[in-house]
Every structure is written in C-alpha cells, then in structure tokens.
C-alpha cells in the first residue's frame, strides 16, 4: 500500500505543476520524434538537452530524461521498421522482422504492434519498478559494494561480448576496443594522464556522446549513401493498416514471455534493453513452431522485441536509482543530470529525495500509457517522412548530429571525433564487428575500472576475498561460464549461416 500512496502523491505532484506538465509533454513528443527520425535518436535529443537541464530543477531534469527514455525506445522501433535503421541498439531485433514487413507493404501492422506492445511492456515494467526499487535499494545499501558492482559490470560485458556480434571473437574485440577508448584521459584512482599524446583534448577523455552519434547515426548514413550510389537502396512501400486486437491477443504468450525476459534483462548493467530485445526475439524464435518464418516479416518478431525492450526501461532505472549504476547511454546521461545538481545517484537519493523518485516513477508510468494515444496519432505523420528521398534527409541528420556533438561541451573537436567514429564504424561493420559493443565498453569502462580498483583495495588485492562475498562470486562465475560456453560453442557447434540477404539490408 505504501507504494500505491507514494505513486498517488507522485501523480498529484506531477500534474499539479504547470511547468512539470509542459516538460512531461515535451519529453513524450520529443522522445518519440527523435526516436523515430532516422539517423537521430533519443540520445541525440538527450545530448542536446543535457546542458540545459542545469536550468531545471533536479526533479524536472531527471523526469524529462526518463520520459524521453520511455517514448524514445518506442520511437526507435518506427525507424527500425520503416528504414531498417534501429533508433538505438535496443530496437535492432525489431528491424529483423519489422523491415521485411515494410518491404512487403505491411509497415502499418508492424508499427501498430510496436505501439501496443511498447505501451504494455513499458507500463507493466513501470509498475514492477515502483514495487521493486525501494526494497532493492534497502538491500543494496548493505549487500552491494564495489566488488559486487565490478562483478555485475563484468557479467554484463561477458554476456554482451558473447552475443553482441557475429562471432564471440568479434564481440570481445569490440568490447575491448571500447574499454580501451575509455582508458584515454585521467586514470580514476591517481589522476594520471593516459594516452593523451600531448593533446589537451584527450586529457578529458573521449566523450561517449560524439562516439555514439558517430557509430550509430553517421556510419548508418554512410552505409545508406553507399547503397544509394551503387543503386542498392530501395525505398520502402507504404501502408497504414494497424493490427486488429484479436491479432494481438493471439500473441498474448509472446507478450507475457517478453515482459518477464525484458524486465530481468533490464536490470543488468550496460546491455539491459538491448539484451532484452535480443533475448525476447530469440526466445520467440526458439518457442515458435514456424521458426523459419522469422526474419522474413513475422509479426511475432516485432511483438517480442518491442515488448521486451520497453519492459526493460523500468527495470533499467532500478540499478541506476538503487545502485547508482547506469545501465546504458541514456541512464548514463541521467547520472550527468544528477551530478549537475550536486547529487550522486544511488540508494541515498532514493532515501533522501523520495519525492523526486516518485514523480519520476509516475512520469514514466504515464509516458508509457501515452505511447498508446500519441503513438497512433503521430505515427501517420512520421510515416510521411518516408516520402522524403534519403539524399534530402541525410544532410539534416548529419547537421543535427553536428549540433548534438557540439552542444555537449562546445568543442569542435567533438564533431571531428564524431565523424571519424562514423568512418570507423562504416569499416568495422564491413568486417563484422559490433559498434554497439564498442559503445558499451566505452560507457562501462570507467565504472568497471573504478570499481575494480576499489574492490581490490577492499579485498587487499586477494581474489579469494570474493569467497566471502557470495553475490559477487556468483556474478563472476556466471560471467566466466558465459564466456566459456560461448568459446566452447564457437569451436564445437555447427556454425549458423547468416539470414538471407534481403532480410538484413536496406
């Protein structure tokens, strides 16, 4: 009952504050639009907004970001379905079946399913988050120290490395490259300059926002440009025919399964929503009697992936608020918002600023509900974007990216870094490496090293210290098992042929 009362108070606080309502609505529409416009993402919007949150209260800033998170994850599905450009990595599996559906002229059905399932997954997840975060924060204060957090980061990276790219080797090398980029700058313990090559810019480290913009937005434009020039680009066909309710009801088990998978994956650091979407999709394939239909435009593929990734949004707030550990790029930016207001996310925020937390929770709940309403109204506008020839969209996207990268710190060199990352991403993707893996390594690298150093100091540099810390030990063992199993599979299991070309490329 406590949670219900708090939720009611949060709702009243949210909707009795005119500025709060304006920010809430801007977040809902903005997240959806930026999530949906190909080549930009909710991260672009969040990056551009980040400097301005200094002028808002902490409550409004965090609330804005959490609302953008909910609706942006849905918005990214629209580009995944219509353009085969996932708005963010968590929408990638949506494209596997969503894009073939577009090619078959069923874009409307796919988008409609994404609207419904995102709203359902997200709302259920928000409710679970409200019930679970407080007890977990209480428990975390006593049970989670740096050794556990390091073990959690390790486990998250091990899973991401094993399944994030074409082969486990390419997955690991991608993550390791990201970890190496995170090393550039000052070391977290002694403040010693590393790999700065005497350039002042590198002292502050390579910022993850230009890197993300480059790897995801810019490299995608370049891939599309190559297809355009070589004549392989094909404009998708259009239709607006939403799925019927009975059609969705037939997939109720897929929805429930994806909610459960999504929520538990969302709690993991680093890959939360991405892993959730992939696992949700993969389980849908495994449980299906018509598994060879997947990848060719099966509605259940879109449903499983979109339910799971939105179910992960609420879950991803748990490690952020209960442990202070960001689960992805957007939650990492929320850490930035907290820091701008001289607050550290973690169990203490939850205990000291309960008002803030519950306004954020209420906002996330209603943001997920509003996906239903606005999703149906706005989607038709967004589908019209399809009629814009890509060569006209590309300059807009590249310039939005330029503004986004520049606005982070007001440094032109960030724009250069972004475009260089775009070119690198273009060539890395030709060779099967995972740009998502690199970005994950980059984001978790700093936290990983810092918690590793603290853990080693706490345990007096003895790994055996983990034997007295069962949670950390279990996470480490799980990480090593994941790695071992995937290495074993790489050598002894039959290789899987890539899905047919037309389902993969634009």
């Amino acid at each position: 009952m406590d949670a219900f009362n708090n939720f009611a108070n949060g709702t009243v606080a949210l909707f009795s504050d005119p500025l709060g309502i304006v920010i809430f609505l801007s977040g809902v529409v903005g997240g959806m639009l930026f999530g949906a416009i190909p080549g930009v993402s909710m991260l672009t919007l969040a990056a551009i907004l980040l400097p301005f949150t200094a002028h808002l209260s902490a409550e409004h800033g965090i609330m804005l970001f959490s609302v953008i998170y909910c609706t942006g994850v849905y918005g990214g599905a629209i580009t995944a379905i219509l353009f085969n450009i996932p708005g963010s990595p968590e929408n990638a599996p949506t494209a596997f079946d969503g894009y073939p559906m577009t090619q078959k002229g069923q874009a409307g059905r796919a988008v409609g399913a994404a609207v419904m399932c995102s709203a359902i997954g997200g709302t259920v997840s928000a409710v679970l988050m409200m019930l679970a975060t407080a007890p977990i924060a209480d428990w975390a204060i006593s049970a989670f120290g740096p050794p556990e957090i390091f073990a959690l980061v390790f486990f998250g990276l091990a899973v991401a490395a094993s399944v994030g790219a074409k082969t486990i080797w390419k997955g690991w090398l991608s993550i390791l490259a990201g970890l190496m980029i995170a090393v550039v700058g000052l070391d977290p313990v002694g403040g010693i300059e590393r790999y700065d090559f005497n350039m002042p810019y590198l002292l502050a480290g390579i910022h993850f926002i230009p890197t993300i913009l480059g790897f995801f937005a810019v490299s995608e434009i370049m891939v599309q440009a190559e297809k355009k020039v070589t004549g392989a680009y094909s404009a998708p066909k259009l239709s607006v025919d939403f799925p019927s309710f009975s059609e969705l009801w037939a997939h109720k088990f897929a929805v429930v399964r994806s909610i459960i998978i999504g929520f538990f994956c969302g709690i993991l650091p680093g890959i939360g929503a991405t892993l959730a979407a992939f696992m949700g999709y993969n389980e849908a394939v495994r449980w299906s009697k018509e598994r060879w239909e997947f990848g060719k435009g099966k509605l259940e593929g879109v449903i499983s992936s979109e339910t799971a990734n939105n179910a992960a949004t609420g879950a991803a707030m748990i490690p952020l608020l209960a442990l202070g550990l960001p689960g992805g790029a957007l939650t990492a930016m929320m850490v930035g918002v907290f820091q701008m207001h001289d607050m550290e996310p973690g169990p203490l925020v939850f205990l000291n600023s309960a008002d803030l937390v519950w306004v954020v929770f209420a906002a996330m709940f209603f943001a997920n509900l509003s996906i239903l309403l606005i999703g149906f109204l706005e989607t038709k506008t967004i589908i019209n974007l399809l009629r814009i020839p890509f060569q006209f969209l590309a300059p807009l996207i590249l310039m939005l990216a330029t503004v986004g990268a520049y606005a982070v710190r007001g440094l032109v060199i960030d724009v250069v870094v972004m475009f260089v990352a775009g070119v690198l991403g273009f060539f890395l993707r030709r060779t099967g490496y995972s740009v998502a893996g690199i970005v994950l390594g980059l984001i978790l690298g700093k936290i990983g090293e810092q918690t590793f150093a603290q853990a080693m100091q706490m345990l007096h540099y003895e790994w055996t210290g983990y034997f007295s810390r069962p949670i950390g030990l279990a996470l480490l063992i799980a990480g090593f098992l994941t790695l071992g199993a995937s290495a074993y599979r790489a050598f002894y299991a039959a290789p899987v042929e890539a899905p047919p070309e037309e389902s993969k490329s634009a």
Binding site: K166, D187, Y195, A225, V416, R430, V496, E497
Partner: protein, 234 residues
C-alpha cells in the same frame, strides 16, 4: 595454412600491431600510485593482453573453420555487418578513400605548421588557412567526383575540420549541398531549396529557440557573417 585467408592474417596483424603500440605507449604513464597496487597502467595492460588473446583466438578459429559463419543464432541475429560491394573493396578503392579521408587532417596540421615556421601568432593565421583550404577543396572535389562513396566518408570530416575557422553558419549550406550531390542528387533547384530549408530549420530550432551557440568561425569574413546571423536571429 589451414583455412586462413590473407584477410584473416591482416586482421590479426592489425589488432596485434594496435596492442603493441598501446603497450609501448603505456610506459609513458607507468607510474605507481601510492594507494593502488596496480598503478595507472595495470588496467589498460590487462585489456591489451585480452585483445592479444582474442585476436589470436580469432586467428586460430579462422584457421580451423575458415570464414565460419556466426557462432550462434543469437550472434547471427545481433550481427549488423554490411557486405562491401565488389567495386568498393579493391585495394585501389581503399587507397583512394584513405587519401580523401586524410585531406581534412592535412588542413588541421599544415597552417599551424607553416605559421610556426614563420613565427606567426596562432590567431594571425587567417590568410594562411584560407590559402591552404582553397587548393585542398579543389583536390577534394576532384577526387570525390571520381569516388563518391569515399567522398561521402570524408566530406563530414572535412566539414568538421573547417568548422572551427569558417563557422557553422557559412559552411552548413555548402556542406548540405555537397552531401546531396555525393548521394546522387543533380537537380540544382532541389539542392538549393533543401539546403536552405534544412539550414532554416536548424537556425530556428537551435539558435532562436534553444540558444545553442554554434561555432561562428574565427577567420574573417566568415566570422563576421556568423556573428551577423546570430545577431539577426537573437
């Protein structure tokens, strides 16, 4: 040689070379930290070791399995790699593209270098910068005309390299038209219209509504133009 192809050896070689370079540079910050036994270089060196292991593991795997395919269905699903078209994977294409991508870096280095030799202060380099930029632009246009995809890869970097000096306001419309041209658009009226529209939207959204300060440039007359735009809008 098992199932190895030259490409696999080159790939492994590049990773090992990267690891070696990073390892050598790690001696520059190999300082001990009083409160931390592993020092500043312990973590990076552990990562370098893992890179070497993974690169060798991949080489061994290719030796046993050839090209191999994805290691599991989940890996195949996560794979977002792109096949290179045949005419864009020759050595000649890579070399041509490499030169194109190098042009912006030439611009970022050369004026400072010349200015240093002539003993000019860093803010007195305007003329030299313009004199460097002009021939590089001509060279770039000539090369990009013959290799449009390479041009598309390099043009944004060139744009970013010029941004500090010439400013967003003067460069953005030209950049937009360049992108459209390289993507195959040839109708001048459409290109001009879209460039103006995109530029207008960005100015309204960011300069007028959000007050994001975009780079105005620091070389005249671009600097004056950028400031004039900002003054008019705000």
């Amino acid at each position: 040689m098992g199932n190895l192809k030259t490409g696999h050896l080159v790939e492994a070689g590049l990773w090992l070379l990267l690891a070696l370079v990073l390892f050598i540079y790690s001696f520059e910050f190999n300082n001990s930290i009083e409160i931390y036994k592993f020092g500043a270089s312990g973590w990076p060196r552990a990562i370098i070791l893992l890179i070497v292991l993974a690169a060798l593991g991949q080489l061994f795997w290719h030796w046993k399995r050839g090209e191999g395919g994805a290691t599991s269905k989940l890996n195949a699903a996560a794979d977002d790699s792109v096949e290179a078209p045949d005419d864009h994977s020759s050595l000649g294409w890579y070399a041509h593209t490499f030169v194109l991508v190098a042009i912006p870096f030439v611009y970022m280095r050369v004026p400072d270098f010349i200015g240093g030799m002539m003993g000019l202060p860093p803010d007195g380099l305007g003329t030299i910068k313009m004199l460097t930029a002009a021939p590089l632009m001509v060279l770039f246009a000539w090369m990009a005309y013959r290799n449009q995809v390479g041009g598309m890869l390099a043009l944004p970097i060139f744009f970013a390299a010029l941004l500090e000096d010439m400013g967003f306001y003067a460069l953005a419309p030209v950049f937009a038209m360049g992108v459209m041209y390289l993507m195959g658009e040839r109708r001048i009226k459409w290109m001009a219209g879209v460039a103006a529209g995109v530029f207008g939207i960005l100015l309204l959204l960011f300069v007028k509504l959000l007050y994001v300060g975009l780079p105005t440039g620091n070389v005249r007359p671009f600097y004056d133009f950028g400031n004039w735009v900002v003054t008019v809008l705000q």
